[in-house]
């Protein structure tokens, strides 16, 4: 017994030493840390709305680039004086001088053209006089002149820039996040918002509890757990486009929950207690609920399955088979089960990175709060991303593999945040009420 404790302490100690180590997850690919200048785009034309929409466009573009994790934005206070709207306004040597020291520069103009918010965009390599245009000069036109239109154009411009200098990995500015909004009366509905927290709207209005949303890879459907007013929790699927329900055949049992789409969108892994007297087990079915196959048989709860999104051939899940909940991986047929977190405590909410190399999870390692960690499957190393900031749970990867959304009560009530996969650039997306359980969409365009 004494030996056991000694070992435990040793293990905890060695785990702690790795906390401060940074993880490299995608943020190390492409031209990282490159310095970009983004002088404000200049409004032109006579439409009185242009000024306000342009200010919004400039703010959104700046934030998109700033939170991308790919570039360093040079502060505008260092910029040369003067308005920059067209190539003739730019003196590259002023922008590459030590005070600014920018490598690239995005600039252009905006206007409302026949009721459509429009941006003319240049993206220059300031240090390459022969070939300035990193992106072809482009015109981005929205379908109207609303605020949403100005935001959409900014997201498109940001994504184009990120893709060209981010190692070919697309930007996520046009992705969305589904989450659970908790109403004061205990009702929970699935909501959807843009990746930066803008334009949130309810997807369900079931007047009960709708939890654990999961985007289908096609971005058109969301599976979730519906807890009806009376009766066992079941899996529902709803169209993210028109909110129409899709049928998912009942599995039966006292609970069916935590649906997760296979990377090709044809199957759903989930947990149900239909054949078990001792906690739910993991099953896979076609995405209409038919052709059910049981994958686990073990004492206690097996729940929260997630597929390896790159191969579709492995499933990570949470199991109590050896005591407190821990994260395991099995082959998609249910064979070859192995435990991946071995440092004790309670490890839950596995989220498999898009490249298949990491599993983010929530870990209550020594009692106390949950924090987000990343497990590197190749090295077995666990890296802590959040600390000393309340409970941090339910990580969800963005499709770029650089960002993670999660739930935290660091500000009092649980809210949705995003961060880079190294724990930096934390951004709070929701602020009112109580919001939980984010699921990040794939690329929607």
């Amino acid at each position: 017994m004494k030996k056991f404790w000694f070992l435990t302490i040793l293990m905890l100690g060695s785990a702690w030493t790795s906390i401060s180590q940074r993880i490299e997850t995608g943020t190390d690919r492409g031209t990282l840390g490159v310095r970009i200048a983004v002088p404000e785009f200049q409004a032109s034309g006579s439409d009185p709305k242009t000024t306000a929409l342009t200010a919004l466009f400039n703010q959104v573009l700046w934030d998109d680039l700033d939170y991308s994790g790919v570039v360093v934005l040079v502060s505008r206070s260092f910029y040369p004086v003067g308005r920059i709207a067209a190539p003739g306004d730019v003196k590259p040597e002023e922008w590459t001088a030590p005070a600014v020291d920018a490598q690239f520069m995005a600039f252009g103009s905006t206007r409302i053209d026949r009721g459509q918010f429009t941006a003319d965009v240049r993206f220059w390599d300031l240090k390459n006089a022969q070939n300035r245009d990193v992106l072809q000069p482009s015109r981005h036109r929205a379908s109207d002149d609303s605020e949403a239109a100005a935001r959409l154009v900014a997201h498109r411009v940001a994504d184009a820039i990120i893709e060209v200098i981010g190692g070919g990995i697309r930007g996520i500015a046009q992705t969305k996040i589904a989450f659970v909004s908790v109403h004061p009366n205990g009702i929970k509905e699935i909501y959807v918002m843009e990746y930066d927290g803008a334009n949130m709207y309810p997807l369900t209005s079931l007047k009960s509890q709708a939890v654990t949303p999961g985007w289908a890879p096609d971005g058109q459907k969301i599976a979730f757990t519906f807890v009806p007013p009376k009766g066992p929790p079941v899996i529902n699927i709803v169209s993210a486009i028109d909110r129409r329900p899709h049928t998912f055949q009942l599995a039966g049992g006292s609970v069916t929950t935590t649906p997760s789409w296979s990377p090709d969108g044809s199957q759903i892994a989930f947990a149900t207690s239909r054949d078990s007297n001792d906690g739910p087990e993991i099953y896979v079915a076609d995405w209409n609920g038919r052709n059910l196959r049981r994958l686990t048989i073990s004492p206690g709860t097996d729940i929260s399955p997630v597929w390896n999104p790159r191969t579709g051939r492995e499933i990570a899940f949470v199991s109590e088979r050896n005591g407190p909940p821990q994260i395991y991986i099995m082959d998609a047929e249910g064979t070859n089960v192995r435990r991946i977190i071995n440092d004790g405590g309670s490890a839950q909410n596995p989220a498999w990175s898009p490249d298949g190399q990491h599993i983010a999870f929530a870990w209550q390692r020594r009692g106390g709060n949950f924090d987000i960690f990343i497990h590197d499957l190749a090295t077995g190393r666990n890296t802590q991303l959040t600390q000393d900031s309340g409970n941090n749970e339910r990580p969800a990867w963005a499709p770029d593999g650089r960002h993670i959304a999660f739930e935290s009560n660091r500000a009092g009530t649980s809210q949705i945040y995003t961060m880079l996969a190294d724990g930096t650039k934390v951004r709070q997306l929701t602020r009112t009420g109580k919001n939980q359980g984010p699921s990040w969409s794939g690329y929607l365009q």
Partner: protein
């Protein structure tokens, strides 16, 4: 010995016969001769008098009252209702079910006299005799179910039946055995700590632990459905151990 007993019996018989004879002899001369027309000198017989008292005058239903009466010059006393002929003076315990006026009538050679005593009986507003029969038709199966099949509480992060909860489930099983047609659902619940997903599993295991206990006591499996509500249906929302405990439960509902 035999002889002596016979003699004794004989003696007794003679004695009894003599006594009988004596009584009948006394009676017969008094009754038959009709009194001759009153002689002038004889005074009229005095009128009878009677007093009837009740103590106390007011009672609750079920309590008793002492009736006490005294007469003068009465040969015969009746008290109504319900008592009939009574001694010319005396007392008796009565326990009327509702308010009543007793009338005592004294009859004597001088005429009759009456007295009355009113007893007020308070009947409780919802009479206990009535309350008892009422539940029989209205104590629905649902009410009886709720009274006899109580919630089971669990320790933090545990789905094992706690020793202090066993008696409760056993008495639930006893009632369920007497009511074999009752189909019901066991709802598992968890407090808000721990992850929402994990709590759906934990609450499922709690519901199943209670189900297994009941089937072990002989309740047929087919009567019991289970539901896990995880932490989605809390009884209370505050973040206190008291509230957490109330939420860590298995609850029962009729199907």
């Amino acid at each position: 010995m035999r002889f002596r007993a016979t003699t004794l019996r004989l003696g007794l018989l003679i004695l009894m016969l003599t006594a009988l004879f004596t009584i009948s002899c006394r009676k017969s001369p008094a009754a038959p001769p009709p009194p001759p027309p009153a002689p002038q000198a004889t005074p009229p017989p005095p009128a009878p008098a009677i007093t009837l008292r009740a103590d106390p005058l007011t009672i609750e239903r079920g309590q008793s009252v002492t009736l006490q009466w005294e007469t003068q010059h009465a040969g015969n006393v009746r008290i109504e209702p319900g008592m009939g002929e009574v001694p010319v003076s005396g007392s008796r315990q009565v326990s009327p079910a509702s308010s009543v006026t007793y009338t005592a009538t004294a009859t004597g050679p001088g005429g009759t006299a009456t007295d009355t005593a009113r007893i007020t009986v308070n009947v409780p507003a919802p009479p206990p005799e009535r309350a008892a029969p009422r539940p029989e038709p209205t104590a629905t199966v649902e009410e009886l179910f709720r009274r006899n099949v109580e919630e089971v509480y669990f320790d933090y992060d545990q789905a094992e039946i706690r020793p202090d909860q066993v008696a409760k489930i056993q008495s639930a099983a006893a009632w369920l055995k007497q009511n074999p047609n009752v189909r019901f659902t066991i709802e598992g619940h968890a407090d808000e700590r721990g992850s929402q997903e994990y709590n759906l599993g934990l609450a499922d295991r709690r519901a199943n632990a209670v189900k297994q206990f009941l089937t072990g006591q002989g309740i047929p499996d087919g009567l019991i459905a289970t539901v896990s509500y995880g932490e989605e249906r809390p009884q209370c929302m505050d973040q206190s151990e008291d509230c957490y405990q109330r939420n860590r439960r298995a609850a029962f509902t009729l199907q």
